[in-house]
Amino acid sequence: MRSPQLNEEGALTHLLTLEGLPADVIRSILDTADPFVSIAEREVKKVPLLRGKAVFNLFFENSTRTRTTFEIAAKRLSADVINLNIGASSTSKGETLLDTIDNLVAMDADIFVVRHSQSGAPHLIAQHLNAHRRRHVHVVNAGDGRHQHPTQGLLDLYTIRHYKKAFHDLTVSIVGDVLHSRVARSLIHGLTTLGTPEVRVIGPKTLLPAHVEALGVRVFHDMRDGLRGCDAVVMLRLQSERMKGALLPSAGEYFKNYGLTQEKLALAKPDAIVMHPGPMNRGVEIDSAVADSDRAVILPQVTFGIAVRMAVMSMIASA
């Protein structure tokens, strides 16, 4: 079955996942994002591309940061942004997800930005819209369950390309809670699609998915081995709720084995960059000395994230 995120002409009409998204579509999103980065440097930080369009932020799960960056991106495109605090409204009164969507379409929504704790919810919405002749309405997945967080994956790709220029000779190491990380899943798909020869995942067995090798990555349980000679280190956030379960002994123990310190970073290439999707836990997965060093590109990631989201929204809105 054809992916619902591409239309008949192969243009991006929803962004649901980086899995299976063709390399030329990923490259064209990154290329489109480039001129959007410079809009922040203007007197008027706005372009009129989405003037008169309505972007609905549907966050069934909280994420102030992601919602804010989508809101800024939409506003810089001159769209009207409506934030819906779904948890507190209709679903708690028993309305189904698709009924909520139909109601918002009746309010002339043009783009839905969807964050949901259930994997596949944005996909379900996109299929529903496509099946009911509402192809002029578009969906962007802003993180669904453990599945995907495609705009985060794209901004990571943008950041790596910005600093390293190309993917064909890179080694990228992703460290931490890959099991629960939709960020890691999106990034792995994107990196392999763009031809990155070596993608490594580093973490304790309890935090790596079974058969993770099937995604085309090399697995390391020893952080030092996994960092050796890499060009980019992507640290994942260790969610504190994981600590409460049986998956990990303690934050201190975790930091000792999988926290990024200057001493461990020295094993990577001398010009290796350090990335983190945020919010980061200093002293848990990353040492302050690394987070504040000039090797860290964590704040540029945030800036690039707005440009990447502008690129995605402007591309799907015209498909």
Partner: protein, 166 residues
């Protein structure tokens, strides 16, 4: 039907510079509209006396046909390395047709500041305007059928004009 004759691009550029010489402000900035206009804006300071900063503008984000044609690939960064507030700016484009690109470029310039004056220099004016926009300086006028495009190309440093069917 024989293809319409197009003038020599290099000779037309010299003719355009001739019209600008003495008429254009000494410190006017030359801002080329990508991509043809950008090539011309790079060449003009050597041909027009004065101290002319050069900038480039990509109007993709300001076009009025975005909702039907979308973003065409290859948008570039607009780069205006001078203070737009109070500046005299000469927009430079290769072919003036409907006037819609120029409208988009003027809108974009105002998002960078408030220029004192904006003028328009074009290599070719082919008529067919859909907006009340006229060039201040023009290299040559040319009439071709509406469904044909006049295209400026660059090989090394040499510019050439051609006509393409649609």
């Amino acid at each position: 039907m024989t293809p319409p004759q197009v003038p020599d691009a290099e000779a037309t550029l010299v003719a355009l510079a001739e019209r600008m010489r003495g008429a254009v402000a000494y410190d006017a900035a030359f801002v080329g509209i990508y991509s043809g206009g950008a090539w011309l804006a790079e060449r003009l300071p050597a041909l027009v006396p004065g101290d002319h900063p050069v900038g480039f503008i990509d109007v993709s984000f300001y076009r009025d046909d975005y909702s039907t044609t979308g973003l065409k690939g290859g948008s570039r960064r607009t780069s205006l390395p001078f203070d737009v507030d109070g500046a005299t700016i000469v927009l430079v484009d290769d072919v003036l047709f409907t006037g819609r690109s120029v409208r988009a470029a003027i809108n974009e310039l105002f998002d960078f500041g408030r220029p004192a004056r904006i003028e328009l220099a074009v290599l070719i004016d082919r008529g067919g305007r859909e907006l009340p926009i006229e060039p201040t300086y023009c290299g040559a006028r040319l009439t071709v059928a509406r469904d044909l495009s006049i295209v400026l190309s660059r090989d090394g440093d040499r510019l050439a004009l051609g006509v393409e069917g649609q």
